[in-house]
Symmetry: D3
């Protein structure tokens, strides 16, 4: 029934290739089906002005899409500035990663996560969060190896998945054909231990009931477990 032939609760294949770029302190190429996102972590030994001398660390994120990541070419954002959608997504990524971060343990330094979509097939923001956490994990590992950070500031992984109502049924991990048809869809950010970080459910020209909401959340919990397992494999 799903365009891809997947079961309602079936994720797309996940692969996370690490250390894909030479200069970044941490990096990975995450593939969730046809959605491919390159995530890099850049470490700086300074924090934004509002954190100066606070002893606290900071994680922030930026998101971009290559012009031909999509079916038809999109205008390059460098030519007309970041769209509202782009800014909304990168604020979400930053907030999600910070929710799983012990900022005291990281110490007064900043890590910037860049998530650049090489190929898009739905769920790019979720893949960016999941892959972004891996890049962050790898950068923090380096800091811990050399003793710059002692207590692990990332005690619990952070991952994200989308769910939605497609043709009246709750499905997990929407791809582009599903996403463009779904009247209701949601992005769910959670930790490896099942805590919630962010829920964004939204209906375009439709509404939904509490029981549908519960169904989507149940699916999302399963999806995040699969993603967290893949994160652990990649960073083991």
């Amino acid at each position: 029934m799903r365009p891809s032939g997947r079961q309602l609760s079936e994720m797309r294949p996940i692969s996370i290739e690490t250390d894909v770029t030479r200069h970044a302190e941490g990096s990975c190429l995450i593939r969730v089906g046809g959605t491919h996102v390159l995530c890099t972590a850049s470490l700086e030994e300074r924090v934004p002005p509002f954190l100066k001398n606070s002893g606290l660390g900071w994680v922030t994120a930026e998101y971009g899409m290559l012009p031909r990541a999509t079916h038809t070419r999109m205008r390059r954002e460098a030519k007309n500035g970041q769209s509202g959608r782009t800014q909304e997504i990168q604020r979400l990524i930053g907030r999600s990663l910070r929710a799983g971060l012990d900022r005291v343990a990281l110490g007064e330094r900043q890590i910037t996560i860049d998530c650049d979509v090489i190929q898009a097939d739905g769920g790019t923001r979720c893949a960016a969060i999941t892959g972004g956490w891996v890049a962050l994990r790898l950068a923090v590992n380096k800091l811990m190896k050399v003793g710059d950070v002692i207590t692990d500031p990332l005690p619990d992984p952070v991952a994200a998945v989308s769910c939605g109502l497609y043709a009246g049924q709750a499905v997990l991990d929407l791809d582009y054909p599903e996403d463009s048809e779904a009247g209701v869809d949601g992005n769910f950010v959670m930790t490896g231990s099942g805590r919630l970080i962010e829920i964004q459910m939204s209906a375009e020209g439709a509404t939904f009931s509490r029981s549908q909401m519960t169904e989507l959340l149940d699916l999302a919990e399963d999806g995040v477990k699969t993603l967290v397992a893949a994160q652990k494999d990649a960073t083991a």
Copy 2:
């Protein structure tokens, strides 16, 4: 225990004054406690290019804040463009109002809802949605009165409220002092008949459990009922 002395499930006083500006097809000044938002509806007998000759109507929204709506003066957005936050909010308002709209019944015309915050004390986006629906309702009433629209395109009101975890407890309708302290907060957009339109729950540097989520959602349902009653009074 709340800074304002309110009960955990107590909304702030609500007032909705209609027809506050001469030129707009619909308008109101909504006050939710110290949060005051001027909402206007502007009708145009044309739609965006992607809807040309579709027979479908469109509702879109814009959001702004006067520079001294806040405790300390903010830079005027006309001087440096709309921030990511502003764009995110106005996309939410538009999406929310469209979810409660019968676009066939409206016919091929566009209504733009402008929500300008005169005074801010937390919950401005929720007040904007609630007041924006009133302005929209009034503009549609005019179209129906002259017979340009026959079937009511707004069968079910749309309203929004925020809830959050403040000092470890679930509270309804956060004001600014609560909002700036809450580790978890959410915005809930619903219809008068209790259907869900949008849920945005987010944790800054924290996480939350499913049972906390349920508690917040229960509070929100109560709050929206109160708001819908005020909308009905104002547009009766």
Copy 3:
């Protein structure tokens, strides 16, 4: 003969409501007929770089129009930057208020006057100057009450009115229907004691004589007297 039925030398009704917004150090909503402008004064205990350590104070102004203050909705300036017209107006407001200010008496602090047009019906820049002075007066009163300012830096009120040639006759206080037809119109900024601060007379596709100029200036002097009386009532 005037569209509104007013006499040639008759002002529109004036009302000035003070303390209309909670956070600003001074505020008013001025209504000159159908023109409604919200004016706020924001105090900062710092001055622009060129005045550092000079002991002199500064007053500056910003001007905006809500998108549906006008007959047909205008594009929101936050979306495409301030127009030349807007910048020209806010420079005029700032210059006018500074001309009536004793900058030594104010001391090294800055007050920013924000004038936001809620509803427009001609003469918005004049209403902004007149209302802006009231907001400034109220903010300065607070500084004097607590003893931060000793000598009154605002010895003489500042107000402004427009006049023009409408259907060949000199008329006072142009409303929108008159303003859009007038071949010649002028804005006159004066003090309560009748000194001139700024005269801007301009002809679009027309010219005028010195005797017409004198006639307009005479009308303006009368108009400013009425406005200054309203300012005094409001701030008494």
Copy 4:
């Protein structure tokens, strides 16, 4: 008593060199003392959208300053957009030239006047108007010579001069040292037959009386006569 040793009512030397650039339909280099402005007129056989099929012509103006026209180098406007001051000046130039234009006689075509300041020593906007009219005159002459325009659309020259109160006395044609000291200064745009087009008098941190205003206006009338004579010589 004036820094330049001039009499109170003495203009600086004026020279207007025509046809200084090859491509423009009309051009001149006007020198008013140390203020040198290159003015070009560019003809297009089309009008702005709001005049399409109206039969009416249009004249518009743009103004710029070369970075080192001033004592110390200014930032190039191409690098950060036109300042409010620049926009205000170019609106004034366009309005002034249109006031002396018979738009029916010109017919449905547009002439753009570019005024670029090569060297600045006070009064650049007045020199731009005076020189801009010469460039416009020359371009119109070409149209009339080939019979594209029959009735002269420029029956009366337009010129402008500044006056101000310097060291307490009314002086004509302020140069930079005077301009930067004057508490009150005005720009006066008039026609060759003595009609008024635009008066902009403004006080920075000061006020002025009606009799001072009259004195400045008298001086300006004399100055404009001198300028109009120079325009006639240049375009004879």
Copy 5:
């Protein structure tokens, strides 16, 4: 003597992986040593306005760098617009590819080549031209396969390499450590048959002789032969 231990006339290892992204009509990931550029070709059945109804095709290019392609993170161009350097490079890429294009044979359609640097180690513009030609070749192959294009519009490959004077000696294919030290460097764009398309030699704080120029050009001819062979392998 070279930091990498290469011979003076030794290129870095080259690899060209094709069809690396799903949506583009042609794509490759070119690696020249540590410089990795993703090149995509996007076909549109329309041309820029100046070519409408000309029967001629067009190829244009855009260039970008991911923020962490470099040793230290660079600001994302989407946040502050394309730099002069970026624009200069993308103009060069477009010009180079058009020089090897038979625009009549391509017919009235446009192909946009996007070159995004994933990892930078010197010579990114040369790699972009070389890889961009491969993406273009693959997109044109598709057009020829379905019969939309009959005569091959790409008769001769286009490739580019840099050379420079490093420590006083002419070296081929500068990597980043060499590039940042070289007083003179050049980019050479040529065809497979040895014709010249573009030579850009430039000295920062230095000069060079004609015989040095000749030496660099000789090296470049050898380098381009190697690159063209790799292009042919990749597109065979």
Copy 6:
């Protein structure tokens, strides 16, 4: 055979008028045939941040075109920012002048060269480099006269000329009609003693051979000799 009737190796008439503007430390108006460029040198006793306390000087350049320097009026760059072409040209001018500069001898100060095209007829960037060097020379002369600079930081003049293949033949100093037809053209920057600084040869929709390249370079060497002689006359 050339549109102008010139010999293949004949330059246009050159004139360099110095000290044409009052405020600049050095200035000239260079005319190469119908191409007229105003060049000014502005001295500042400070350097960009990256040179602070290095003891080294800096020369940078900016380039602009008046809107009606061209056959048809171009949009004013101050209205939409500097184009890629403009930025590319001003980077070239700065690099060229720095290549002939002894930055130790200049000492820690910056000279900005502004090149503004008054009238364009091909070869504006070359005229800007040649005239820019004259303005720089004059500014440096002043520094040497007062003893602020002891050793001459400009031991060898810098000049530039364009050559190209027009109607199949190599020609020197392209004017606009030639430039717009030439399939191949190049800009050559050299010193008075014949050293090369920058070579930019580029083919639009064409290619060229090494022997053609040599021919163009030979022509350029002759052209630069003529220009350097004119520079020496002007600054003697």
